[in-house]
Symmetry: C2
Subunit: 682 residues, 2 copies
């Protein structure tokens, strides 16, 4: 007897199974995901929670034509498994393998490359309008989690759901968890609903929804009215969505696959938008990652509200590296950490500084662990604010904190900070408020791939007035940058990668100098150098490696650690004035990045420098001499194209942000300077 | 007998008046605003609606210590009038005069320079936390409109209101209007509440709130419970906010200043966040701008929902230029339009194209009139989607529309598009979906000032993969750009200013050439020129003016109309290769703008060009020759500092984006090139 899973390579195969076998298949898939992710790493807990919902959807809908849209998308593994990508899980999130997120390039069953929260309902509305206008009958289903539905974009979409005016089913996958436990009023509200329900209630609700749908030929209002009259529904939840005029069904058990199949068969016939509220357990079936509290317990968090508090296993196994499954279900993560990460160094130092300065507070957007704030929160629970997936509000709250005299530290990943660009622009930059932004995951991010790269932050932030942009090269500089930022009287941005700090040998003495506004440090000064490598941030290690390689080839270069991308140090420009060529290197888009800022500064110097003008008038010879040997600026950074999921090191190579690329560029420059010279290897 | 208003120059003066005189004062202020705005232009309707609310707040709270935060902020005129700025209204929104928005630089009574919607509740939460932590007793009041409260950032903040854990009063100023009538489910919901209330209900509600607050010594829950039991409150509205655990009071009449005073005296004593829902009429007291329907009428908009539909006078007088007040209350706007605006040309041409292509649909964010879509909407009501102040969802809906095969045109002002940066990045650019972005108000915007300038769009958009960025120089190019964008198979951005199209003399024959991806056009080729002016967008007129000025001084320059900022035309780089200097000019931040893109492209050419490398090897002499006369690139654009409210023309001068600045720069370049030459005026 083979596994059922071995027979299922497509939704068509799935539909061949009798519905009662789906429970067994669900367990096999759960095991498959567990085995697979333990080897490759990946998003575990969320995927263990959505097995049954996904199977039931694929069993009922025909997603060759119908459209299944995922919010965030990291919970789509079951979907990938049954849409022909099962065999590719051995290379999940690796080069040449499949992405950890939906990707239209992989499969006709995927429609958007996603990774950020709150977008699916709005895109679904757009597709629904499109289908309606083009008289397409394709059905549309959205799978959205309770952590995503509180996002501002989700709310804006719910507020406009009426535009769809046709079928559009939203499945609310409610596991009471973002990466961390969900927070905020709506989460408490869902939690109250959850606490008011027993398993028997869920069963009854399901039964009654089935008895009273489909509603073909009847208006939704009428159908809902009938359902309401006959059953004990979760009235508070229903009221919230009905305030927004959204027909609400539920809550139901999101793990009872057979009854889900029945429900979807009924709900797929609705001709209006609707929401099905399903309870799931993040990490279900794998005890260390399971969020189910047993029994349900009431705790008091931040007030008098009873709140459903999940165990923290699901948070630990939200996104994981490879790990070992032990017999007693205990696990040991494969140790892969010899040096601490930038994140850890940041978190520890912030906590240390906060001990001495009670004005320091931290704010994050559902990423307390990810941004290194876990210990800070433990130590200073009342000074750490997690607002859920709400980056816009997080920044505005920080602005208010700063205006009231506190020192807020905003901890958001670079890619997600894009959500708060406008708030940073208006509430922080325009007001010149001393908010500190600690931007983790800046640069390429490895396995999460294109949706998660943090390659735009320098660009969108350096345009804004008053913003100071800095990037530490290593742990020593991380601490100094944080101290600098917390003592500044303007907004300061500190960016650092999802990476370990560089090995000790790359921490040079210059790195120990305190950070001073707009001042670079010379890390390596070489006699008779005609080229300077100017790095921004953690890429210093690559610059130093390049310097050593070039020295072997007899090419002397300086290494300047810029530290600031705004303002640009005039000393960098003076290198050019001295006739040196420079190579800028950064872990960011080449467009609008640090190198671009250097180019602008140099161009501005030409255009505006009164001194230059006077010199020209006083000493035309000098001006001409200046013309004779204009220095070159080469900029290295990520090109304007997608960098796929892979390990970070390879991505840096691909993007041309590496010691090799620096070396190659320096050699080209050297050759152009010295066309007839021979290079003598040392 | 002088006016009461003459005695009131500060909140202290206001507090000296007996409460019963406030009604008279309100009428005087209304007249003052009307007279003042008819002379200077400004935001009229919204300010006529908030007179009583503002007076009552200042009468009760002490905003020398307490904090009054405005959402959007254009409704703050009464606040400015009674906080010592009455005499400055003669220069409202003009150089040296006061801003049309709150501005901390103007007054200690202002705390944030605002202009974008949805931010006030979040900043208030931050300030509340700050006050709590620092044991400050300052009270915090937020004034937010019903159009702003549906914004995603507002919702994220409401969801986190629990963080405040102290007094924080939100006044919901509900006039059923954004700039246009508010849309979406929440607006319909407020509208249902409004329709269910009579004037008598409002009076009773007020009476009962007063009888049951303050609640000192009692929990809010208890107080609310008592109020609920004793009065007929607007239960549906109360349910919506109570779902989010926000104590709700109202609705009440927002124009009865005496009862508002009593209400605020009660509500100021709450020790928890709360919301007061007040009805106002936008444009009250000035018939052409009054939104009050008389009597309340039920209409059916987009479905079977009854909706409160305001007259469109308030929309017309949302933001106005100077106008004349005639005796019969009719008005004539002072005619100031001799040429059509870019907006008008866009709107007309889109409608024309849409006649022939039914795949074209338009989406906007509460700016149907402002973006020139009014006629399109009239002609194609079912192809025009206004999502309210929800720029993030607007872009995601557009992505869904494009994915379904339609051709969506997103019409959002440059400054507000910042709200959807992340959605453009993920749902549009990453997917390479053919969404057309028509970015109005790009560049400096005149009287609205710093919060409304559109100076960052080139920067944040050109970093994204697949995006094509274009800008028309005039009406002829506007039409061609739109045709190009609608036939492209990638996302295309078209940016244009809040301005009239340039006079005919600046529309040269080259402008009639069809737009081709990444291709510039030569507008003026001059024999023996050593300098080329390369403009991006409507600033072509300035470039041509500069060219003529320079010709008079015997300096020959070419004028190239770049048309595209992404991709950059290689022909522009080839000018440099030919040894010409270039001056780029654009109505955008110098940082990350078009000029910056040219600099990057040129730097990349140096670094990466294999051809260059081969040439170097094959012909070292050529490489050296190239070095001998490296060309210069001067970039002109807005500096990284605030550009205050003023007329657009002056702002362009201040920013150095002008014919004069181009001329001056070209002369400098010419002098550097020809240090000994004498310039012979023609």
């Amino acid at each position: 007897m083979g596994r059922l899973l071995d027979q299922v390579n497509s939704p068509a195969d799935l539909k061949m199974l009798p519905a009662k076998q789906l429970t067994e298949l669900a367990e096999e898939i759960r095991q498959f995901i567990l085995d697979s992710v333990s080897k490759t790493g990946g998003h575990l807990a969320s995927n263990l929670g959505t097995v049954e919902l996904t199977l039931a959807l694929h069993y009922v809908f025909d997603f060759k034509h119908d459209k299944l849209l995922w919010d965030v998308g990291h919970q789509c593994y079951t979907h990938k498994i049954i849409t022909g990508r099962k065999d590719k899980f051995a290379r999940l999130r690796q080069a040449g393998g499949i992405s950890g997120f939906p990707d239209p390039a992989e499969s006709e069953y995927d429609h958007f490359t996603v990774g950020h929260a709150g977008t699916s309902i709005a895109t679904a509305i757009g597709m629904a309008i499109g289908n309606r206008r083009q008289k397409k009958k394709d059905k549309i289903v959205v799978m959205v989690g309770d952590a995503s539905i509180v996002n501002g974009t989700s709310f804006e979409a719910l507020n406009n759901l009426g535009l769809a005016r046709r079928q559009l089913l939203i499945v609310l996958n409610d596991n009471s968890m973002a990466i961390d436990a969900t927070v905020g009023a709506m989460a408490k509200y869902f939690s109250r609903v959850r606490l008011s329900q027993t398993y028997e209630d869920l069963r009854k609700t399901t039964k009654n929804i089935l008895e009273h749908t489909p509603v073909i030929g009847k208006s939704v209002e009428e159908a809902i009215e009938r359902i309401k009259k006959s059953i004990r529904m979760a009235l508070p939840a229903s009221q919230m969505f009905e305030s927004l005029n959204i027909p609400y069904f539920g809550p139901v058990d999101g793990h009872n696959v057979e009854s889900l199949v029945q429900l979807f068969k009924a709900l797929e016939q609705l001709e209006h938008p609707a929401i099905l509220h399903a309870y799931t357990s993040k990490g279900r079936g794998f005890r260390p990652a399971d969020s189910r509290p047993s029994p349900l317990r009431k705790t008091s968090v931040g007030g008098t509200e009873p709140i459903y508090t999940p165990s923290n296993g699901a948070s630990k196994f939200h996104s994981t590296g490879p790990f070992e499954i032990k017999e007693d279900d205990k696990v040991e993560k494969t140790a892969d950490i010899s040096r601490p990460s930038f994140t850890t160094v940041f978190g520890e130092h912030l906590t240390k500084l906060a001990e001495k300065d009670d004005k320091i507070v931290a704010i994050t957007s559902a990423m307390c662990d990810g941004t290194g704030l876990a210990d800070f929160r433990k130590r200073f629970a009342d000074r750490c604010y997690d607002v859920g997936i709400a980056e816009g509000a997080a920044v505005d709250i920080a602005a208010g904190l700063a205006r009231s005299g506190l020192k807020p530290v905003v901890c958001i990943y670079s890619t997600f900070l894009q959500r708060s660009f406008d708030q940073i622009s208006q509430e922080v930059a325009l007001q010149n408020l001393p908010v500190v932004f600690c931007i983790d995951r800046a640069g390429v991010v490895g396995p999460d791939g294109p949706t998660h790269h943090g390659l735009s932050d320098i660009g969108f932030l350096r345009m804004l007035p008053n913003m100071v942009l800095t990037a530490p090269a290593n742990d020593v500089e991380m601490k100094l940058a944080l101290e600098f930022a917390l003592s500044a009287d303007s907004p300061v941005v500190i960016r650092y990668p999802k990476d370990l700090i560089p090995p000790k040998k790359f921490v040079r003495s210059a790195c120990a100098k305190p950070f001073k506004l707009g001042q670079s440090v010379v890390v390596k000064k070489t006699k008779d150098s005609s080229i300077a490598i100017v790095n921004y941030g953690s890429i210093l290690a690559e610059a130093l490696t390049a310097e050593a390689l070039l020295a072997k080839d007899g090419i002397a270069v300086d290494v300047i650690n810029a530290r600031f991308a705004a303002p640009i140090d005039k000393k960098i420009l003076s290198l050019l004035e001295m006739g040196k060529d420079i190579i800028t290197v950064e872990d960011h888009n080449l467009a609008c990045g640090f190198g671009s800022a250097v180019l602008e500064s140099y161009a501005l110097r030409d255009a505006y420098s009164e001194k230059q003008k006077r010199n020209t008038q006083a000493c035309p010879e000098r001006s001409r001499r200046n013309d004779i040997r204009n220095p070159r600026i080469c900029v290295l950074g990520a090109p304007r194209r997608l960098i796929g999921h892979d390990c970070r090191e390879t991505q840096l190579m691909q993007a041309g942000i590496s010691a090799d690329k620096i070396t190659e560029t320096a050699k080209e420059m050297f050759e152009i300077r010295n066309p007839k010279s021979e290079i003598h290897p040392s």
